[in-house]
């Protein structure tokens, strides 16, 4: 019974959202506002029960671990951003977060996204793939070298680099289209299967 009501609500809200494809209308606005309101309420409760309570309130107040006073104070300082006169205090916990994450990220990001990638690019030019990789990376880098005017041979190499970039953008866009169609298939399957029972 409750499942059926849930499916009907979900189906009608899906149709309300789809109605935007025709033009903006009150049904779409209603569904949009409802989604934002429900999400905000849901996440507020969720964060309280799954983040604040187990990671701060329980260890501090029930288990009596005084070290947790530090995150409590930092959290309160962060909330002071809402008081215009003393909003500057929120910069301190923010600085703590930025500093911590910069430290966390710096070495590992450099290792994962730069060093490993460069190492994998410097390979012997013995296969077709490695030649394409070498030409693509080199000409792409030439395109992003702006201290010399893109003219003559240098301009030609840079133009070749643009072709590689365009192919990469095309592949990325193709995947994006595929993803959006997948989402549409998901919704259509829900409407035809769970709601209307037309398909198995």
């Amino acid at each position: 019974m409750f499942e059926t009501i849930g499916i009907w609500i979900a189906a009608l809200l899906t149709l309300c959202i789809f109605s935007f494809l025709y033009k903006d209308n009150p049904f779409y606005k209603f569904a949009e506002h409802l989604f934002i309101g429900v999400s905000a309420g849901y996440w507020a409760c969720y964060y309280y029960h799954n983040v604040l309570q187990p990671n701060l309130f329980v260890p501090l107040f029930q288990e009596g671990r005084p070290i947790f006073i530090i995150p409590l104070v930092l959290g309160i300082m962060m909330l002071l951003h809402l008081v215009p006169k003393i909003s500057w205090i929120s910069r301190w916990p923010l600085a703590f977060i930025v500093g911590t994450y910069a430290g966390y990220y710096l070495i590992t990001y450099l290792q994962t996204n730069a060093l490993e990638q460069v190492t994998a690019t410097l390979v012997p030019l013995v296969t077709f793939s490695s030649v394409v990789l070498f030409v693509g990376v080199t000409t792409g880098l030439v395109y992003f070298f702006f201290s010399k005017e893109h003219k003559g041979t240098f301009g030609g190499i840079a133009k070749f680099g643009i072709w590689f970039l365009m192919i990469a953008f095309g592949a990325s866009f193709g995947y994006t289209v595929m993803a959006r169609i997948s989402l549409l298939i998901g919704r259509m399957t829900f409407l035809l299967k769970d709601w209307l029972h037309i398909i198995q």
């Binding site: 490993e116 994998a120 198995q200």
Partner: protein, 299 residues
Amino acid sequence: MNLEKLMRIDRRLIFLLIALAVIFPLLFPIGLPTHLSKPVQDTFNAVDSIPPDGPPLMLSIDYDPAAMPELYPMTLAILRHCFSRNIRVLVLSLHRAGPGIGEMATTRIAKEYGKKEGEDYVYLGFKPGFGAVILRMGEDIHGAFLTDYYNRPIGEIPMMREIHNYDDIPLVICLSAAAIPELWMMYAGSRYHQTIAAGVTAVSAADYYPFLQTDQLVGLIGGLKGASEYEKLVNELEERLGVDKKRKESLSKEEYEKLQVSHSKASAGMDSQSIAHLVIIAFIVIGNVAYFAQRRRKR
């Protein structure tokens, strides 16, 4: 044909044609073939190489309901693969919206394969902190997750007694619609040399190909297409192992057919995907032909 008119075609007509291209193959399946790609086969092989009843696969459910059409069939297929081969699974979520989805998928497939919670699989649930949690698990999983999703202390769970950190995890698969696989590579991969595979939405799949080339990812499942490939591999495996035959014998015809449909959830959407792509390609070609013809006429 009036090219001016073609260039100013009502966008709602395009929406309608795309909708029809998606709906018709769902109503009347064509059964277009799905070809296997190497990244998906590599993921399958990595899972398949885990010994039965040995160290578990770690499955990180890091997506929200918006990504379910693409990533949920992947989740089900991976869990089916593990349970049909008696591979133990350790499921967790680093995304705040993931725990409900993870629990739904894990309990459903575990029930289908008769697997016991705490012995064949453990559901750790959600822990906020992304990178910090991944790093902590490298030292001690028991320290990162004090209890499982059902509030049972980790130390009391039989399967968890032998699992302490990434040394006891042969493979991590991160299913995500965001940049969380990158965090797994950064913290678990670079620092602890953990073997990682990823299942991502098609939007982000292109971003992860460079990590395949560097072997930072052992495999990649991209979008609904990747999910359908994995599903196909698992269906073939179950046939080889005789799991499908046993199921056919133990279930009624109606139950078996219903299960077969749910085991081809991703593949069922591939007809719509292909037809919709053809319609989009047709529109791109028509648009370009009209544009160039119009430009030529103006000259």
